[in-house]
């Protein structure tokens, strides 16, 4: 469908703009009927074998439009369920609540929440409802985006691509038999050691809105942009990949307390429209900078992990690792978009 409402038109391969999430969910289940299921009458997708006996369950979620986040991370060793909201809109309390009830095996449920008011409020209220029903619920709030300053007086930092590492590592801990407390603790450890920053060269449009939610000039980029198009640090003329990589890594390293010879995991994440070729060009420079600083790279991930519809741009994420985090990062995972053998 094309949309011409208001500003420049955006073309999309969809049916009813208001039905995109339902259609997508149906397409996801049909793509992996043996691995995932939709919890009847909800926008919750879960492991086919949920609730998994004697295992702490992990739930993530948020607005749609960030695919493969979050449904692509459902699987043994990662998430038990993802709660999908409308595009860029937090899922509602009742949906999260249904998700919690569906996955709890009695060992408790960890909610992995990206730090956006909507997500926090809806997940928090759902947790209260579940606890009232006697389900143990713990929460971790991811806020890895260094483009926003960390502050308790404001909404604070956003959760972006670093969230995927929280899924992976706490999911491994749960699969290994960790208690809810232990799983929550390691999830918080990841949150404390992961930092990200992104940039965009072209906007995206919410299907139901039909027009881009922000615009950039022909030669402009926005550094520090959020995965919903929230403003970053500055808009300026687009520079080279090397300069972009340098700026993102510098901001991240300024915020991540890391010394020579310490190890990191690197994620170069595409926001949607940017070709993998360009992500690898960014990766080249990122790796060169880390080598100069004598920071060791344990593992690198290049691809689309946390997108913003068809936004053009990328984000860089660094996760500082210790032995425990390395072991959990390398633990097997069956999640479609984060397979680890």
């Amino acid at each position: 469908m094309t949309f011409k409402r208001g500003g420049k038109a955006m073309k999309k391969i969809i049916n009813e703009p208001t039905e995109v999430v339902q259609d997508m969910i149906a397409g996801m289940v049909l793509a992996a009927p043996h691995k995932i299921k939709q919890i009847e009458g909800t926008t919750v997708l879960a492991r086919k074998d949920t609730p998994v006996k004697n295992k702490v369950a992990l739930i993530s979620g948020g607005g749609s439009g960030h695919e493969p986040a979050h449904a692509g991370y459902i699987g043994k060793g990662m998430l038990d369920a993802a709660v999908l909201g409308e595009v860029f809109t937090s899922p509602s309390v009742d949906q999260v609540y249904e998700g919690i009830k569906a996955v709890d095996s009695g060992e408790g449920v960890l909610l992995i929440i990206k730090n956006y008011t909507g997500d926090v409020l809806n997940f928090e209220m759902a947790a209260e409802l579940a606890e009232a029903e006697g389900i143990q619920v713990a929460q971790v709030i991811v806020n890895d985006d260094v483009a926003v300053e960390d502050s308790s007086f404001t909404t604070g930092r956003r959760g972006i691509a670093g969230t995927v590492f929280v899924h992976k590592i706490s999911g491994a801990k749960a699969e290994m038999g960790g208690t809810l407390e232990e799983v929550k603790t390691v999830a918080e450890k990841v949150v404390n050691n992961v930092r990200s920053m992104g940039m965009a060269i072209s906007p995206c449009a919410i299907p139901a809105a039909g027009e881009p939610s922000f615009t950039l000039l022909e030669d402009e980029m926005e550094v520090g942009i959020g995965i919903h198009g929230e403003p970053g640090i500055e808009r300026k003329a687009i520079t080279t990949a090397d300069e972009i990589a340098s700026e993102l890594v510098e901001k991240i390293l300024n915020d991540l307390d890391i010394k020579k010879n310490e190890e990191v995991a690197v994620m170069i994440n595409g926001l949607g429209a940017t070709p993998e070729m360009e992500l690898f060009i960014i990766n080249k420079k990122v790796q060169e900078i880390l080598a100069e600083q004598e920071i060791k790279v344990y593992q690198t991930f290049v691809g689309e992990y946390m997108t913003a519809l068809e936004m053009g741009g990328c984000s860089v994420t660094l996760l500082k690792l210790d032995e425990e985090l390395k072991e959990l990062l390398s633990f097997p995972s069956d999640a479609a978009n984060f397979l680890v053998k």
């Binding site: 208001t18 607005g63 409308e86 809109t89 509602s92 008011t117 809806n122 929230e230 403003p231």
Partner: protein, 207 residues
Amino acid sequence: MNFSVNNVKEWLKKTNNLIQENKNYLTKLDQAIGDGDHGINMARGFDEAVNVTDDKQYDTVADILKDIAMTVMSKVGGASGPLYGTAFLRLSLSLKGKTEVGYADLTKALEDGLNGMKQRGRSDAGEKTLVDVWEPVVTFMKKKDAADADGLMEIAKSAVEKTKDIMATKGRGAYFKEKSVGNIDPGAMSSFYLFSALAEVLKGGGE
């Protein structure tokens, strides 16, 4: 006056009409200092609230307000869903068991709703949110001892305008820092629709 179940239905429908008419405007406001979905969220949720409640029979105002709360909470989504949902839930709790709802009851209920939203949102007046419309409206209503529809309308209108001057510290607007100044807060605008619809109903003086 008696603020009846039918008045609530009327209030809800008038609110929904305003939201539907201004859906794109709300989305525009949210594109400026948010993520561009407030109009879509509110339109989806309040339409559903009308569908759910309209031809249903209710014994008390508390009952219909509870249905509205639940529908809004589950259908609006985003940040505004749980906030408006909490507000309506508190309204319902505040009026529980009442067969007659007078002006004072209504005012008290709205104050409870406001406080509920502040707790839930960990927010206060002056942060460029819907609180900046609710708070002055409630304060105004408390000063009066009978409904003053026009006064309420005026207060709400000027409160929305004032959100322009505030730098956002809560919600997505906060990411825009200084740049948020000069823009009307989308949630404040949708709250204005809610109160101008209420003023309309109060003009009728209730049943």
